[in-house]
Point group: C3
Chain length 344, copies 3
């Protein structure tokens, strides 16, 4: 059971309800009315819990689970231990996400604006927003309905935020237009000056940063991530893109829709990235590049050239994955030979 | 036109004024009194806009621009499209920075201290400072004139800040002395304990951190960057140095004047870096090293040795740039041969 | 002398006292009652100061120091300059840490809760806590005795914090249980949603994150570090572990006791790390791995496989240190030969 100090369980749900919620198919023989009380990992699940198997690395845990119900792929449907009923689907992780979301729904905010929030009289706040103590909202800001804004968050003049935003504590928003249903975790900084200077032998001249940050709907932005505003063009984050913690996105970068950007990634200024591209942790991408759609970039890669749609790349400098793996293997092999030990 | 919700245009400016502001030479035939309304990138500029060409990657955009006036290098002076007048200079980016700064000057703060700021009676605040709600200023702090301090920023006991500082929201300053005209973006943490422990088999002993952080004039520090105070010696950031977002600078590090330090760089403790050194994104520099002046370090490099003045290095471990490139080329070539495929 | 604006010197201490405090042995001939006024680095120490030599890189500074007393290893006991008495120990850094801690003890907080803190009536605060303006403490939070909580820190519903915590400014704590004597530096974000999505061609489905973050005693967490809560299992940081600035720890990660994790390290979800493991700066560790106890990982390494107890590894992908060094040497050597220049 999730810790009751932090989470409220909306269950139990019957098997029939879980079939409907999960979108998975029932292949078991249990009664439709059988009740399940909670979701749990395979290792700790009990006969009243729902679990799932997605990553094959955890197959052994599945074979030994005590879960009453488990969501699996078709090829695992016959391998469940005797006490475990199964629900079958091509995407167990998505089905589990729906079930877990039913047991632990995101609380609907009870609209309330703290008397200790500092909201300019010229700001517009939509209905039913929950605004914590210490929030600072400047003139000309507009915020949609049903938004939650955490303590000590600062929203500077002119920013716009859509409906259903969930914004954490100590966030700084400036010069930005944010879509609907956006999640911004604590400590995020959006819209500050890009890193733009004209270098000089007597010191570097600051270049005015005259653009904005435009964030689409359903974007999620991880804790302490930073997104600089554009220099004149805007910095753009496409709808549905998910950004992890401590990511840096430079001025004028344009990120497509539904990308994944893992922690510590740095995307330099003016680089454009297509839709559904996945960028592993600690990747660095140079400036002024075009990265296609559906690209996959391995963790820690250094990308120094344009990348075509659908490429999978790795290494620093990044290359096609096969080439990179072959080079690694070649170096490892060669280091064990005379060449490696003594040169030629 | 920059978004009027965020930016105020101080134009128009006449051609004669723009010549004076930019420092570039006029080689066109337009009337001195012709007015220009705004700055714009080459792609979106109209006949009433000023633009510039610096990075050759955008030459095609220049050849097709509708900008009324464009700042270029001498070799491009004759290539402008028919409707575009040119201003010529050896450094178009610097000239553009001056012009853009004239159109969009940094607003002079209207001195005002929020009644919701928490300022110790023993702190000294200079004239005409703009201090936002929630700012916390402790005893013994002195702040110069014309400073802007963003919401929820915390300045701990004894800190000193010069004139004309622009400090963002949710910044934490401790144990630091800051020069004039410094820009500190949101979420920056300066002066917390360095990472100093005497390791032990029963646990690690914390080493008191008894130094400060000394920051010169005209320094800019990017969002969520962290700079630890010294252990006894100070951590020092030289005048004019520009630091990007999410950079880590360890205790006792001494950074020279007018350096560039790009996002996600980590500089370990007690390392000294000379003036005008440029450090690419995600570079790591080990502790107790001496990096010279005018050094250039490629992105993602790992620096494990001292570096002489003027060197250009790359790779992990970092080597002279030519050596690194040759090694990359060698590995790429060799992986395609029998050696790469089968060893010898 | 440490800057009196920031530090209070509790000295002087006599030689006899310093022997007792440091745990080092006296091999000098000075009077037991001789007083020392301060700690100082070798370079700036005077005859009334205590210094130490640990890193051999600073041996020359030791040979030329003016320090009155110096803590050294046995092999250096006879090399001190004429005016310098020595204290001898196998671990000079630890002995210095104890001496410096005696000169500059951590101030005992004078319990005081700011009238500008926002504390829910259902929160429990232990005796003698120092709580700064703007702190927000939600319902159901319990905080132990003698804790210091910095300005604008936010502690969400249900969190528990032990005794003697030192928490900096603008920290965000959610869904976490924190042990005793924990230090959390400014800007740290703990307990926000892990980066969990079920990817889909129409967009990615958010997976509820139903676990917590469990932090042991004596843990230190550096500025702007982020630790996500678990998905169902918890994210765990073992007792005594020290984490530097800007580190990312993913959901369900379990870090052992007394580890060192240097700045910019990224530890992916569900990875388990043993006790006393040391992880260098900018290391990335993939998800779902088992890293043993006593492992050492060189800076910037990329760890993509399980690692046995006691291994020392480096490189990306990481390999045993000797193998990695041999490969680097091989590539460097080969690039200078015909193979490197022309292939075969």
């Amino acid at each position: 059971m999730a810790d009751g100090r932090f989470f409220n369980n909306a269950g139990p749900f019957s098997l029939a309800e879980l079939v409907a919620i999960s979108g998975a198919s029932r292949v078991d023989t249990a009664a439709q009315s059988k009740l399940y009380a909670d979701v749990q990992p395979l290792d700790s699940a009990t006969p009243s819990d729902v679990s799932f198997l997605d990553n094959k690395k955890y197959k052994q845990s599945f074979l030994e689970t005590a879960a009453g119900l488990c969501i699996v792929r078709p090829d695992m449907a016959d391998s469940a231990p005797p006490g475990t009923q199964v629900l079958v689907t091509a995407d167990p992780y998505a089905a589990y996400a729906r079930v877990a979301g039913a047991f632990y729904p995101v609380p609907v905010p009870k609209g309330a604006i703290s008397e200790f929030a500092h909201i300019d009289s010229d700001a517009q706040i939509g209905e039913n927003c929950l605004i914590a103590p210490g929030v600072h909202i400047a003139a000309g800001v507009t915020i949609g309905t049903n938004c939650v804004i955490g303590a000590h968050t600062s929203i500077a003049a002119g920013c716009q935020i859509g409906n259903d935003a969930r914004i954490g504590a100590s966030v700084s928003l400036q010069y930005c237009l944010v879509g609907h249903s956006v999640i911004i975790h604590p400590g995020v900084c959006i819209g500050q000056d890009g890193f733009g200077f004209a270098p000089g032998a007597q010191g570097h001249l600051k270049v005015p940063q005259l653009g904005r940050v435009i964030i689409g709907d359903d974007v999620e932005i991880g804790a302490n991530t930073t997104i600089d505003r554009g220099t004149g063009p805007d910095t753009v984050i496409g709808t549905g893109t998910k950004i992890d913690n401590l990511v840096q996105i430079g001025h004028n970068a344009e990120i497509g829709r539904h990308c994944f950007i893992v922690a510590h990634v740095g995307i330099s200024g003016s680089t454009k990235i297509g839709d559904f591209t996945m960028i592993g942790g600690q990747v660095g991408i140079a400036g002024h590049l075009k990265i296609g759609a559906g690209v996959k970039i391995a963790a820690q890669s250094g990308v120094m050239r344009d990348v075509a749609d659908g490429e999978t790349i790795g290494g620093s400098p990044a290359q096609p994955m096969k080439t990179w793996f072959r080079e690694i293997a070649m170096v490892q092999k060669l280091a064990k030979t005379k060449v490696g030990k003594h040169g030629q």
